[in-house]
Symmetry: C2
Subunit: 309 residues, 2 copies
């Protein structure tokens, strides 16, 4: 097992270096943080447009959030209890002249100046849909809502795996409504997402999955999430056929966000929610892995579907 | 003076409420942080495309960074000394089970749990071009570089002014090269940016400006920056004709970033740099202010230039 882990890490670094040599990833000096080439970015943009096309009949409300979330709203979710190791909390300096002079002194002395900072009212969004729920408090329209989102998500998990970026874009369709509506959305979008990924030449498998909950309590939560089949991932080979990578996932949240943010259906019941999320950078990486470093040389049908030609 | 300030804040809140009522801004509960409607986002996207068109002859390298920056690179700039009050430092939880239990206890007891977090290797990018310079260390190609960037920038300055968002997109063209190249880029792009803004019906004025440097020392730096005319802003009326808002700016950095990141010209001299930055959300807000809440009713020439029709 350990040997396989080491091998797979080596293969991940080989693929990362290939992307760096091709100019698609520009190392930042921090693991899992890269600049992207114009070509890489163009693939991401075309994927975004393709997802829109596949979801055109949904007449979804389009909303775009910056990649930050009110800390008060964040604290109404259970993220701090369940995944604090992935959190990005935003801290800043709010002192006056004496504290400022101490900050500068500490920095110049290579001391830990971070203690001079204070937590702001903001955290980085752990997923594209987190900023939505606090804005949905109240009663949903009859029929509920379907919302089209795209935003950067942050997860503090430095890694040499190019597919594990610390900040990446999620394109989502979120359903807010009854249990039936949430489940129907989840099921319909898992099918659509599978077809979407197959149509661009990716070898996709649907698996029951779990979130990376923290610690001892997290082990129980993982098992429960799997038992209830609340999370599915669509995995495709990026660096390995044996351990393929999740490039899209669906979450059925039960009434979790409905309860946290007082969201009700038109009938007054607590709203359920479900989302499908596409990891745009990961799908792009899967395409580069499957079809090569130059999109101009990708198979014609893939280029055509993505309107690259 | 105080009365004028109060009045202008009222006018800012009136404009913000108008945008909220039209659905273009969705309040997040934190000042200066909003979701955007699909229509607002579409204006931003069309502005981005228009800037690309205006810069097409530059044959710029396109690079896209996520809105984060290596903290080690950040510390090589002088931002911590000059504008620490605007910083967004990213902190996360990296403890084990005992620290985790203490974190959860503190959160449940409404104590300050932020002290359980530790600074990560990342800060939020204070401007779209900050992540570029650390990747440019070494010798520039003959002729230097022109780089096309677009990224979210973070500035911790909560405000009721809808034009003062805490996280917003900057579209930039950065020049790395000799002093002459940097200055020529600055001058050429100030002219182009003025024309660009005029072509979409905005009443633009070029002014010498300064960065919001912190504290007592900052006052001297502001004066020096103005004396040397290192920063120009293009201002347009958004909520007030008397105090128009900067929607684009140019910065000539002298050899500041060249020295900080060991960037040399092909001749071995320390590189100079200059950038032009377009504040995409601010330009969109200026358009909504000048032409009304419904882009379908904007003047035909503006719609045509932005390819909205």
């Amino acid at each position: 097992m350990i040997e396989t882990g080491v091998e797979s890490e080596q293969i991940q670094r080989v693929f990362r270096d290939k992307l760096v040599n091709a100019g698609h990833l520009i190392p930042s000096g921090v693991k899992g943080v890269y600049g992207h080439s114009g070509t890489f970015e163009s693939v991401v943009q075309h994927l975004d447009v393709y997802v829109t096309k596949v979801g055109a009949d949904q007449n979804a409300e389009v909303i775009r959030f910056p990649p930050i979330l009110s800390r008060a709203a964040y604290e109404r979710t259970d993220h701090l209890e369940t995944m604090p190791h992935l959190l990005g909390s935003i801290h800043s300096f709010s002192g006056e002249e004496p504290e400022y002079l101490e900050l500068v002194r500490m920095h110049e002395a290579h001391e830990d100046w971070s203690r001079s900072l204070a937590q702001t009212d903001l955290v980085l969004a752990p997923a594209a849909c987190y900023p939505l729920y606090p804005t949905a408090s109240g009663t949903l329209p009859p029929g509920g809502r379907v919302v089209d989102l795209m935003a950067f998500a942050f997860r503090h998990e430095p890694s040499d795996d190019p597919a594990r970026m610390q900040m990446f874009r999620q394109r989502e369709y979120v359903r807010l409504g009854t249990q039936e509506q949430a489940l129907a959305h989840r099921d319909e979008w898992l099918r659509r997402a599978e077809k979407l990924l197959e149509s661009i030449g990716l070898d996709v498998t649907r698996v029951v999955a779990n979130d990376p909950f923290f610690g001892r309590g997290g082990r129980v939560m993982k098992a429960t999430q799997r038992e209830q089949e609340l999370k599915y991932e669509l995995v495709v080979p990026i660096t390995s056929r044996e351990t393929p990578t999740a490039v899209a996932s669906s979450n059925y949240h039960l009434d979790h966000f409905g309860l946290a943010f007082d969201i009700c259906t038109a009938n007054g019941a607590v709203a359920h929610s479900a989302c499908i999320g596409f990891g745009l950078e990961r799908i792009a990486l899967a395409l580069f892995s499957a079809h090569g470093m130059d999109p101009a040389l990708w198979p014609n049908d893939v280029r055509s579907v993505l309107e690259l030609s």
